[in-house]
């Protein structure tokens, strides 16, 4: 199970003076889905293009099934890599029917074999009856699944998905996402998915690689990058969060305005006495109305499925607290914070 299908080792790529990808290292095992999460322009698409062999790295190397596929000196052309890619626009061939599109990657098979394989992948994406349509006659979601079927047809060892769900209506998105995930899981395929949507990354990925400015900051399980981000930057990219300052005590807790809190950290230079910042998520604290409480509700935002209260601490710092939709506390009230979080808080040195 744990063999690496894809490995990027210290991969760097520049366009002119602009460093698009800097020293990126990660690997993907068989059957694993890795999501690269980052805002647009952070270099995540370039990582996919490097793995596909559409760009040549300036430094580092890329291994596919243990064999070197890309180095700055030489690289295997994209058609010899056995890697599939689904791009954001799907890039279906407009002059070919769905059947011809899906069969396009099967040039080594006999006609009968082609027919069989096309039928197989078409049933995989549940679009058996659309084989004679042209791409422009399909809906966005159907095009997306055809693109996936076309990519899966030649049985690639890994699949790269570039913002695969961004062109699909919000209402359909989670359904299509579950379908895609199932297809990848059933076929035990290694996949790298690029997205700017953290909910999408968390929902589908085994591991999330958080990327900004061309660098990978943290590669870990969704829970880990959410609860124990390695930097303030990662915390901001993976969650809605606030930060409160505090001082580390002798017993390994942090003294803050919101109370004495347990902490955990990736950094090695946090010791008793050092000043730290803790990441606070909106669901970490509950609130209780108390007329002599130290905190004040500064603002109230009703969101339908939740009510978000902005709580002002005595120092003037604010925290967001998510309450249920029935919460009736209005702004201006005095409140107390109640700790909800069972685990430690992620800490960074200030």
């Amino acid at each position: 199970m744990n063999e690496a299908v894809l490995q990027c080792v210290g991969v760097t790529k520049s366009f002119g003076d602009f460093v698009a990808v800097r020293d990126v290292t990660f690997d993907v095992s068989r059957g694993e889905i890795v999501a690269i999460l980052g805002s647009s322009g952070c270099g995540k698409t370039t990582v996919l293009r490097l793995i596909a062999g559409l760009e040549r790295p300036d430094a580092g190397q890329i291994l596919i099934r243990g064999e070197v596929a890309s180095t700055p000196q030489r690289q295997t052309p994209p058609d010899k890599r056995g890697i599939g890619m689904v791009v954001q626009e799907y890039a279906l061939f407009p002059h070919m029917t769905v059947r011809q599109n899906v069969a396009f990657g099967l040039n080594n098979l006999s006609n009968d074999q082609k027919k069989g394989r096309v039928a197989e992948v078409m049933s995989l994406v549940r679009l058996e009856n659309l084989q004679d349509r042209y791409p422009h006659e399909l809906s966005g979601g159907q095009q997306q699944r055809i693109a996936l079927a076309r990519t899966m047809a030649p049985r690639p060892s890994a699949v790269l998905l570039d913002e695969p769900f961004s062109n699909i209506d919000a209402g359909l998105r989670s359904e299509v996402r579950r379908d895609v995930e199932e297809i990848l899981r059933v076929n035990d395929i290694a996949a790298v998915l690029v997205t700017h949507d953290r909910d999408e990354a968390f929902a589908i990925a085994d591991r999330v690689a958080v990327m900004s400015d061309g660098e990978l900051h943290q590669v870990d399980t969704p829970e880990a990058v959410y609860h124990l981000p390695s930097s303030k930057r990662v915390a901001q990219m993976t969650a809605t969060c606030d930060f409160i300052e505090g001082v580390v005590l002798q017993d390994g807790t942090v003294d803050t305005e919101a109370g004495i809190l347990a902490y955990d950290t990736h950094s090695s230079d946090i010791k008793p006495g050092s000043s730290v910042e803790l990441v606070i998520h909106p669901d970490d604290f509950g609130i209780d109305e108390n007329e002599s409480g130290a905190m004040i509700v500064q603002a109230r935002e009703f969101r339908g499925d939740a009510t978000v209260l902005v709580i002002a601490l005595p120092s003037g710092a604010t925290l967001r607290c998510r309450q249920d939709s029935h919460c009736a506390i209005t702004s201006g009230r005095r409140v107390d914070l109640i700790l909800n979080r069972p685990g430690p808080f992620a800490a960074f040195s200030v």
Partner: protein, 541 residues
């Protein structure tokens, strides 16, 4: 020198398409370089010849007569360009944005004068309106003894305007269709009336298209040889031809040609100046909505009358006069058989030029679109030389080059076809380039990731998707080659007559009846590719 309008219109899409940055493969780079080299040859050789010219030739340049020729050429270019703009802009508006009756029919008819060669237009005008022409014969019973002089500037300007305004019409019309209606609507909502909106919002957005169309008209006029010669209006092309035919020292023609090229370059630079200011494409991302047609009300029929007048003057009258001469020629026993061999010759060279230009356009455009860089830009620019080179200049340069350096193929069809390719490659390039830009590189990359090599992707993906662009380019080159006159006259092998050269030899000696049959044939054959182009254009709307 005539060129298709599309290349000026398509706003650069390259900013949105992620072009591959890897260095261009030699399989594209080398052919593209060779094409560019070949296209640069005539101009380069002309420069060499001009600078090797005798000092007398250069002294000739600074005489008063040269200034007069320059002045006449400039006057003609300005008049024709201005008049074309004045006719084409209202026509474009009426046929795209209003509820004028017979809009569709008129929109096809108004573009049709494009197929009438200038020398045909000129000889028809002379035979109809000239001294002892048809009109005067008709009017003499009521005592009209003489008509206003047609020869000279009026005749040349009227003829060229009526035949070249479609260039402006087509570009401006495309711009009208691409206008974002929401901008006009916003202007109205901000309190501007329809006139104010037109002048402050619509017109400024049309400026690049008007400039592009005017550029085509100006270059067409500057390079025209047939109409100005028949109208005896002595411009540059006429002077060059005179020097070439009569003078012992042919380098005088080379020097004059170089001045003409500089003139053309000046016009091109003027266009760049107008077009480079501001950005003029659709800003919103919303889909193109159809604009509400402007209701003309009681102006409907005057509008139709205006369009019909243009069609009658540019198309109806020439056809009628042509019919008259044809009937007269046939009844006088004019042999029609001669037309067939000329027709075959015309078809033969035009098809060869169309195929050659289309094939040669592929590597240059592929390099420019898929591998942008300094080198590909240079190759593309150089391949557009023909754009600024009047036919007579290319022909002369090849005469010099052929008679001195490549004697064996001089005076063969090959040199003639080469001249056509130099002149008209830009048309094929523009058309193929824009169709290639429609094919996202992502589609080619997707095909690569599905296990197909570079060549396989080119054949199974890129070629079918760009086929229509190639066909359109070929059709355009065919159309303009059929009409081409000066290069055909100068470079055509001895005894090789085409429709153009037959029309010319008959009409320059006022044997209008002899010219009628080949002229009609020429117009008929040229209409076929134009019809294909227009049908495709409409099906894309």
């Amino acid at each position: 020198m005539q060129i298709n309008s599309t290349q000026h219109l398509s706003p650069s899409r390259s900013t949105r398409i992620f072009a591959r940055v890897e260095s261009p493969p030699l399989i594209i780079l080398i052919p593209a370089g060779l094409v560019a080299l070949a296209m640069a040859l005539p101009l380069a050789y002309l420069i060499v010849r001009a600078f090797g010219a005798s000092s007398e030739a250069w002294e000739l340049l600074f005489r008063v007569r040269t200034a007069q020729i320059l002045g006449r050429s400039a006057l003609l270019v300005v008049t024709v360009t201005g008049a074309s703009l004045a006719i084409a802009t209202p026509l474009a508006w009426l046929t795209t944005r209003t509820d004028m009756p017979f809009r569709r029919t008129l929109s096809v008819l108004t573009a049709l004068p494009l197929v009438v060669p200038s020398y045909v237009g000129a000889f028809l005008a002379i035979s109809a309106l000239g001294p002892k022409g048809l009109l005067q014969q008709m009017l003499s019973p009521i005592g009209v003894e003489s008509l206003p002089e047609i020869y000279g500037l009026p005749g040349a300007a009227i003829t060229l305007t009526l035949l070249s305004y479609p260039y402006t019409l087509l570009t401006v019309r495309a711009a009208f269709r691409n206008l974002d209606p929401s901008l006009d609507e916003s202007a109205r909502l901000l309190g501007h009336g329809s006139w104010s909106t037109f002048f402050r919002m619509t017109l400024p957005q049309l400026k690049p298209a008007m400039a592009a169309g005017s550029l085509l008209v100006a270059l067409y006029t500057l390079s025209d040889f047939g109409a100005v010669s028949l109208m005896r209006y002595e411009t540059f092309t006429w002077a060059i031809f005179q020097q070439y035919q009569s003078a012992f020292d042919r380098s005088i023609a080379a020097v004059l040609s170089l001045v003409l090229v500089l003139f053309a370059v000046l016009i091109l630079m003027g266009d760049g100046f107008v077009a480079s200011k501001g950005r003029f494409y659709r800003t919103g991302s919303g889909s193109a909505r159809a604009t509400n047609a402007v209701r003309l009300g009681r102006w409907r029929w005057p509008a139709v009358a205006f369009c019909v007048a243009a069609v009658v003057a540019a198309l109806g009258m020439p056809t009628a006069v042509l019919g008259y001469w044809l009937v007269k020629g046939v009844s006088a026993g004019e042999p029609l058989t001669l037309v067939w061999s000329a027709t075959l010759n015309s078809l033969y060279v035009s098809l060869m030029a169309a195929v050659a230009a289309t094939v040669l356009a592929v590597p240059v455009a592929a390099l420019a679109v898929r591998h942008p860089g300094h080198l590909s830009r240079l190759f593309e620019r150089v391949s557009h030389t023909g754009y600024a080179l009047p036919g007579i200049v290319v022909a002369l340069a090849l005469v010099f080059f052929g008679s001195r350096l490549v004697q064996p193929i001089y005076q063969t069809v090959w040199v003639l076809v080469f001249a056509y390719v130099v002149l008209f490659l830009p048309a094929a390039l523009g058309s193929f380039r824009s169709s290639l830009m429609q094919v996202s590189p992502k589609i080619e990359e997707a095909a690569r990731c599905l296990g197909h090599g570079r060549i396989s992707v080119m054949l199974s993906i890129t070629a079918p998707l760009t086929r229509s662009g190639l066909l359109m380019g070929g059709a355009l080159v065919f159309l303009v080659t059929m009409k081409e006159l000066p290069a055909t006259l100068i470079l055509g092998p001895l005894g090789f007559s085409t429709l153009a050269s037959r029309i010319w030899s008959a009409s320059s000696e006022a044997f209008f009846a002899q010219a009628a049959a080949p002229a009609l044939m020429l117009i008929f054959i040229s209409s076929v590719p134009l019809a294909i182009l227009m049908i495709r254009d409409r099906s894309r709307q």
